[in-house]
Symmetry: C2
Subunit: 200 residues, 2 copies
Amino acid sequence: MPKIIDHEQRRHDIALAACRAINRHGLDTVTLAQIAREAGSTTGMLAHYFDTKWDVILAALRLMHDRLESRMAKRIASQDGNLTELLADTLPIGSERRAEAAAWLTFWGSALKHPELLEMTKKTHADWRAIVARCVAQNHPSSGTWTTAVRDEVVSSIVMFMDGLSVKGLTRAEQYPPRQLRKLLENHLQRLLAWADEQV
Amino acid sequence: MPKIIDHEQRRHDIALAACRAINRHGLDTVTLAQIAREAGSTTGMLAHYFDTKWDVILAALRLMHDRLESRMAKRIASQDGNLTELLADTLPIGSERRAEAAAWLTFWGSALKHPELLEMTKKTHADWRAIVARCVAQNHPSSGTWTTAVRDEVVSSIVMFMDGLSVKGLTRAEQYPPRQLRKLLENHLQRLLAWADEQV
């Protein structure tokens, strides 16, 4: 009887190993061999599941995003934390979040020369906007009265601001420590939500 | 009589050539040989002015920043444009600005594994904050009555937001076209300045 392999599970395990390998070696220099070693596998076996190094990396980024999504969904459902605390959970604070944010920043920098890679993270960006919208809806009930245009502006403004917090939290960590990042986010949200409530 | 060489001028020419080479080949893959070719020089001659590829790249980034600085200083002095227009001039709109913003984004992604490179761009960041502060001071006279804390918050909030606009303008250009970037910036500034004026 042939050995039964759960291919989806195997792809997931490899992506998880890729996350660890990326965090250890850096996204732009990590090799397929290093990812294979981390996954307790061989490059030959990896090739069975992924075509190129970038396919593994895209799967790893997607996995990080899925984990973020389910973590936030749980917190939203259990009403754990206010809007600032919920969103701050995705900032580069602590070693795990820093590694995740760093993987994205390096990916963006490397992918600028490869538009097809950016195209492949389009859905992740749409999902991220949906998470932000859900956080706002759950934590700011008056948002139910906003127009679609106001809701879109609020989500875009949060998305932009958080990208900036991420970049500066990673590249200028001494100047913008965690407390400062949280405070800037809190102030931004306060001004933005007050403005949105006035637009009705 | 020995040939007189203006070494400062030569360093400047090489940095300028490096900007062009980075824009053509990408920051993470550009080689010293390509920069030398662009400068009409040899790698041996380049080594006379710079120790490593990264030294040339840091000089190129600094040069881009200096050009941005003098461009904005001129516009501030001639009162050319309102605050949104002034700041929007640094967003990735048009091929030249896109190339500059792309060089920074790739640098950030690559430099995360090299803290000493990030350290060497510390002054550039301080200068950038000073430019933003000057733009605000010139275009929003009531800012003269703000406390230092409010002024710092305004500068930080603009810096964060513009990083986000830059990242998304580069990586999700189809979703956030130039008009959208400008509008988001304008709305952000309106809310922020109104808030700051109320803090007096």
